[in-house]
C-alpha cells in the first residue's frame, strides 16, 4: 500500500499533471505543472516548495548520544554546536560509504539524523555499550523544503527570527500556530530552508507558508525539477552517484569518502576520535590507493553543437538528467583509447547554459581544467565530446550561505 505524506492532502490538488511517482513508498509529484522547467526556475529565481517527508528521520537521545554519533558518523558531531546541523556520511569497517544524511544537534543528548534509506538496524547494531535510544520518527513527522531566493522573505514573514538563521543552523519557531523546527538546509544548492513538522500539524503549517508565499510566486516543485537542482548543487544521490556499501556485491561498486569527493569532512583522521571506517580511510590515504576522484564536469558546448549541427541535427539540450552513466575517455575515439572515468549524473543546466555532470575520474585528472572526452551517441554511432573537470558545486550562488 503506497503511503501519503502529511502534506499530500494539500499538495495533491495542486498537481495539474496527474503524474506521481513513488519515493520510499510514498506518493510524490513528478511535476505539478506541464512544465518542470518552470518549477526549476522557481527555485533559482523566486521560491519553490518541495515535500521531502519521505526521508527517514531518526531521533538519537540519551547521555551517550554525542559519544555514540561521534563514533559512527564520519564527520565529528562534537564540532557541531546546539542548533547546528551537519551534512555527514557513515562508513563500514572497510572505509566504504554506507550512506549520507544530515545530522541535527539539539543538544549533546538529543540529535536527529535524516537518510534516504532505512538505517535503524545499522545504527542499533552499533549501539550496544552506549546509553542511547534510537527511534525512527519518520511516520510522526513531515518535512517541507522552501527553497530559492525568496524563501527567506516568505518564512521570515511568518517567523521573523528566521531572517537571522545561518547556513546549516536550525531553530524552533511557530508557524501556522504549530511549533516547527526550521533548518537552513536543502537539496537545491540555493538559499533555502526545511520546515520539520509533526504530521498532525502539516496542513496548518502548509496553509500558512502557502499564503505567505503567494505574492512571491512560491511554486510547488516536483521530483523532476529537484533532481536537476541537486546536480547543479553537486549534491550526491544514493543509487545514482553511489551505492550503499551494505548492499553491493563487489568492491567495484563500493566507494570511500575520499573517492566520493568528501575529503573535506575528514579533518581529524589523526586525532583521538575513533569512528567506524577510520583506520581503512587512513590506510587509503597513506598508501594512495584511491581509485577515483569525484568531480564536476563541464562540456565544451561549442563542440557539442558542432558535432550535431554538422550532421543536420538540432543539438539536443535536455535538462532532464540522463539516467545512465556516460564513459569518459582520454582522447578521441579510435585505437588506444583509454577509459578514465564515467559520469554518474548528467544534464543540460539552464543556469549554466552548458551540459554538466557529476563524474568519477582517475585521481590524476582531479584537478580543475583536466581534459576528458565524454562518450555520446549521434545518429546511432558513438562519438566523444570535449569536457573539462571543474570544481563542484558547479552552481554555487553567494546567497546560499550569505548571512542576509
Amino acid at each position: 500500500m503506497i503511503r501519503r505524506t502529511p502534506f499530500h492532502e494539500r499538495l495533491a490538488p495542486l498537481n495539474a499533471t496527474g503524474l506521481f511517482s513513488h519515493w520510499s513508498g510514498h506518493l510524490v509529484s513528478v511535476k505539478y505543472q506541464l512544465d518542470e522547467k518552470a518549477e526549476y526556475f522557481a527555485v533559482r529565481n523566486s521560491a519553490g516548495l518541495i515535500d521531502t517527508s519521505p526521508l527517514y528521520t531518526y531521533r538519537i537521545t540519551g547521555p551517550d548520544a554525542e559519544r555514540f554519533l561521534a563514533g559512527v558518523l564520519t564527520r565529528d558531531v562534537r564540532t557541531c554546536v546546539d542548533g547546528q546541523a551537519q551534512y555527514t556520511i557513515w562508513c563500514d569497517d572497510d572505509g566504504h560509504v554506507v550512506e549520507d544524511g544530515v545530522v541535527f544537534r539539539h543538544s549533546a543528548e538529543h540529535f536527529w539524523l535524516t537518510s534516504a534509506e532505512p538505517n535503524l538496524n545499522w545504527f542499533l547494531t552499533l549501539s550496544p555499550g552506549y546509553r542511547v535510544t534510537i527511534e525512527d520518527i519518520s511516520d510522526a513527522s513531515g518535512a517541507l523544503a522552501v527553497q530559492g531566493p525568496r524563501s527567506r522573505a516568505i518564512l521570515a514573514s511568518l517567523a521573523p527570527e528566521i531572517a537571522e538563521l545561518g547556513f546549516f543552523r536550525h531553530t524552533t519557531v511557530t508557524i501556522g500556530g504549530a511549533a516547527v523546527v526550521v533548518s537552513r538546509t536543502g537539496y537545491t544548492g540555493d538559499l533555502g530552508y526545511e520546515v520539520w513538522v509533526d504530521a498532525a500539524d502539516a496542513p496548518q503549517v502548509f496553509d500558512a507558508i502557502w499564503e505567505a508565499g503567494r505574492s512571491h510566486l512560491l511554486t510547488p516543485v516536483g521530483q523532476q525539477a529537484l533532481l536537476m537542482l541537486r546536480i547543479e548543487a553537486g549534491l550526491l544521490l544514493i543509487d545514482a552517484d553511489f551505492h550503499s556499501s551494505r548492499f553491493t556485491f563487489t568492491d567495484t561498486d563500493r566507494l570511500s569518502p575520499l573517492e566520493l569527493g568528501l575529503r573535506w569532512m575528514l579533518k581529524d583522521l589523526d586525532g583521538d576520535r575513533r569512528f567506524v571506517g577510520r583506520d581503512a580511510i587512513r590506510r587509503e590515504l597513506a598508501d594512495g590507493t584511491s581509485r577515483w576522484a569525484q568531480v564536476g564536469i563541464v562540456v565544451d558546448e561549442g563542440e557539442w553543437d558542432a558535432l550535431h549541427t554538422e550532421r543536420g541535427i538540432i543539438p539536443p539540450k535536455d535538462h532532464r538528467p540522463v539516467p545512465w552513466e556516460m564513459m569518459l575517455f582520454d582522447g578521441e575515439t579510435g585505437e588506444g583509447l583509454r577509459r578514465v572515468g564515467h559520469t554518474t549524473s548528467f544534464m543540460w543546466s539552464p543556469v549554466l547554459q552548458r551540459h554538466i555532470g557529476m563524474a568519477r575520474v582517475e585521481p590524476r585528472l582531479a584537478a580543475p581544467g583536466s581534459r576528458v572526452r565524454a562518450e555520446i551517441t549521434i545518429d546511432h554511432r558513438y562519438h566523444t565530446v570535449a569536457a573539462h573537470v571543474a570544481r563542484a558545486p558547479l552552481f554555487d550562488p553567494p546567497r546560499k550561505t550569505a548571512s542576509r
Partner: protein, 538 residues
C-alpha cells in the same frame, strides 16, 4: 563603469574606440578587449544598454523601457564572453496567451500534447498542421543559420576570399532539399499570410503566428516581406529551445549590465555620459573621436555601434564617402512603427475564463485575435496614423521575475504596433497620451477592469525612441528588415562586411548583418572582421 585609466605617462592609450554602449557596442568592445586590444566604449547616456535597458521609473517597479525579450542572442557569445559568470540568466516563459474577441482564448504551454488539444478546441485540422509548420520552419532556420552567424560575402568585391565565400554559399544552398529551399524563398520573399494560409484555417492561430511577421516592421501580415520578418523571429533559441523567446533576469537591462561586466572584466573601459560628436579622420583614415565637451581621444580603430544613418551621415562628413554609399544610406528605410506602453499595476489583470492566479500569464500575452485584426491595424499606419485597435505583445514580467515589482504588484510591458514615426497631420508630443489611452482601452476590452489596476503608465513613441536611444525614426531594428537591406545589402551594397570606406572606421550596430533584435551578432562579427584586418594589415 570605469573612468579611463590614467597612467604616469598620461591618459591610457587605446587601440580601439567603440562609439555607443548598446548591446552590440558592448559585445564588440568585449571581443576586442578579449583579443588584447586596449578598448574604450563610449556611451552618451548615464547607463549602458542602448535600447536594452531596465529602469526603475516608480520605486520598486522596474520597466523594460524599450526592448523586453531575448531569443536571437547568438549562443557563441554566451560562451566566448563567459556571460554566465557575469550573471547571464535567461528565464523561462511557461505560457503564451492569445485572448479572443468572443471571450475564448488560445493558451500554449511547453507541453506539446496539451498544445495539440488546445488547438483542437479551435480546429482539429490545425492541430497537426502546427507540428508540420513548426518542422518546416525549423528546417528553414537550420538552413539559414550558417548565414546568420558568419560575415556575409561581398557581392561586389574581386577578392579571392569573397569568391570563396560565395562558392561556399552556393554549395550550401545547392545542398538543401527541394522543399526546404522553396520554403526559404517563400519566406524570404513572400508574405506571412500566404505561408500561414497553407497550414491553418483558424483566425486565432493565424493571428498569433502572423504577429511574428509584423513585429517592428511597417508591413501587414498580407504584405510581401512579412515572411522574412516572421522567419527572422524564429532564428533564435532560448535556453536551448529552438525558436523560443524568453526573458532575462532583470529584463534586457539586466542582460546589458551582464555584457558591461564581461567587457570590463576583459579590460575594456566604459565611459558614460560621453557623447561623440564626430569621428576624426586624416587623409581618409580614422584616428579617433571628438566628444561634445571638446575632448579628443585617439585610436587607430573606431567602431560605430550606432545606426547606419548616424554612422555614415552624422559621425563622419558625407563627402568623405563615395556618393553611391551616401545615396544608399539616404534610401535606407527606418520608418519606425512601434511603441512601448509600460504599466505599473496594482494587481493581476483578470479575464473571465482564466484561473485568476496568473498561471496563464507567465509569458507573452498576444493581442491579435485574427490576421484581419492585424491587417486593419496596419491599414491605419499605411495612411499615416496609429492603429485604432493596435496589436499588442504584452508581458507581465513580474510573473516571471518577482524582483521586477514590489511583492504583490506587477509590471506589464506592452509592445504596440502600428504607430508610424511620421504622423500625417499630427505630432507625437500631442498624440502620446492618446496612444496610451488607446492601448489601455484595448487591454480593457480583453481584461475588464484593467484600467483600475494602473498605478503608472509610460508611453514610448517612435519619436521618444529616437530622442532617448538615438535610433533614427525610432526603428527598433536600426533599419527595416526588408530584403533590399538584408545580408548582401545591410546596410548598403558593398558595405556589408562591417568596414567603411574610411580606413580604420568600422560599423557594428544592428543596422549591419545579422542585426535587428538583441542578437549581438553584428558586434561579434564586426570584431572578427576588425581582428582579421589587423592581422592581415602590413
Amino acid at each position: 563603469m570605469t573612468e579611463p585609466t590614467t597612467t604616469p605617462s598620461g591618459p591610457r592609450q587605446y587601440d580601439a574606440i567603440v562609439v555607443g554602449g548598446g548591446h552590440n557596442g558592448l559585445v564588440n568592445g568585449a571581443y576586442l578587449a578579449k583579443a588584447g586590444l586596449r578598448t574604450l566604449i563610449l556611451e552618451r547616456r548615464h547607463l549602458v544598454g542602448g535600447a536594452a535597458i531596465t529602469e526603475e521609473l516608480k520605486p520598486g517597479f522596474h520597466f523594460t523601457t524599450f526592448s523586453y525579450a531575448l531569443s536571437l542572442l547568438r549562443p557563441d557569445i554566451i560562451h566566448d564572453l563567459d556571460l554566465v559568470r557575469h550573471g547571464y540568466l535567461p528565464l523561462h516563459m511557461a505560457t503564451t496567451l492569445a485572448p479572443m474577441e468572443d471571450g475564448d482564448h488560445l493558451l500554449f504551454t511547453q507541453d506539446r500534447g496539451s498544445n495539440i488539444h488546445e488547438v483542437s478546441r479551435h480546429s482539429r485540422k490545425d492541430a497537426d498542421a502546427m507540428d508540420q509548420y513548426d518542422h518546416d520552419i525549423t528546417q528553414v532556420v537550420m538552413a539559414m543559420k550558417p548565414l546568420f552567424d558568419q560575415v556575409p560575402p561581398n557581392l561586389f568585391s574581386n577578392s579571392p576570399e569573397d569568391a570563396l565565400m560565395l562558392a561556399d554559399l552556393a554549395k550550401h544552398l545547392k545542398g538543401l532539399p527541394k522543399r526546404v529551399l522553396h520554403n526559404c524563398v517563400r519566406l524570404l520573399t513572400g508574405s506571412a499570410a500566404e505561408f500561414l494560409d497553407d497550414y491553418f484555417e483558424t483566425d486565432i492561430i493565424k493571428g498569433l503566428f502572423s504577429s511574428s511577421g509584423i513585429i517592428g516592421s511597417k508591413v501587414g501580415p498580407r504584405s510581401q516581406g512579412s515572411g522574412l520578418v516572421l522567419l527572422f523571429h524564429h532564428m533564435g533559441e532560448q535556453d536551448s529551445v529552438f525558436g523560443k523567446w524568453g526573458f532575462h533576469k532583470g529584463g534586457n537591462g539586466g542582460f546589458t549590465q551582464v555584457l558591461a561586466r564581461a567587457a570590463t572584466a576583459f579590460g575594456a573601459d566604459i565611459v558614460l555620459e560621453a557623447a561623440v560628436t564626430n569621428v576624426i579622420t586624416v587623409n581618409g583614415r580614422a584616428t579617433g573621436v571628438a566628444l561634445a565637451d571638446g575632448t579628443e581621444i585617439h585610436a587607430p580603430i573606431v567602431v560605430s555601434a550606432l545606426d547606419p544613418r548616424r554612422t555614415f551621415l552624422e559621425l563622419v562628413e558625407p563627402r568623405e564617402l563615395p556618393a553611391d554609399l551616401v545615396e544608399s544610406i539616404g534610401r535606407y528605410k527606418f520608418q519606425g512603427t512601434s511603441s512601448k506602453v509600460n504599466f505599473a499595476l496594482d494587481g493581476l489583470p483578470q479575464r473571465p475564463g482564466l484561473s485568476g492566479t496568473g498561471s496563464e500569464m507567465r509569458g507573452f500575452i498576444n493581442i491579435a485575435p485574427s490576421m484581419d485584426y492585424l491587417e486593419r491595424a496596419f491599414d491605419d499606419a499605411k495612411y499615416g496614423w496609429y492603429s485604432e485597435r493596435p496589436y499588442i505583445d504584452g508581458c507581465i514580467q513580474s510573473m516571471i521575475d518577482p524582483d521586477m515589482a514590489p511583492t504583490g504588484k506587477h509590471v506589464m510591458s506592452c509592445f504596440v504596433h502600428y504607430t508610424p514615426y511620421h504622423l500625417k497631420g499630427g505630432d507625437w508630443d500631442v498624440e502620446r497620451a492618446n496612444l496610451g489611452d488607446r492601448v489601455q482601452a484595448t487591454l480593457e476590452g480583453f481584461f475588464p477592469g484593467f484600467g483600475d489596476l494602473v498605478l503608472q503608465r509610460e508611453v514610448v513613441t517612435p519619436l521618444d525612441i529616437e530622442r532617448v536611444v538615438g535610433l533614427s525614426e525610432g526603428n527598433i531594428f536600426a533599419g527595416e528588415l526588408f530584403s533590399p537591406q538584408m545580408y548582401f545589402f545591410r546596410p548598403a551594397p558593398g558595405w556589408n562586411q562591417y568596414r567603411t570606406p574610411i580606413e580604420g572606421y568600422y560599423q557594428c550596430g544592428s543596422g549591419t548583418h545579422p542585426g535587428g533584435c538583441v542578437t549581438g551578432g553584428p558586434g561579434r562579427l564586426a570584431a572578427q572582421q576588425i581582428l582579421r584586418d589587423r592581422t592581415s594589415a602590413p
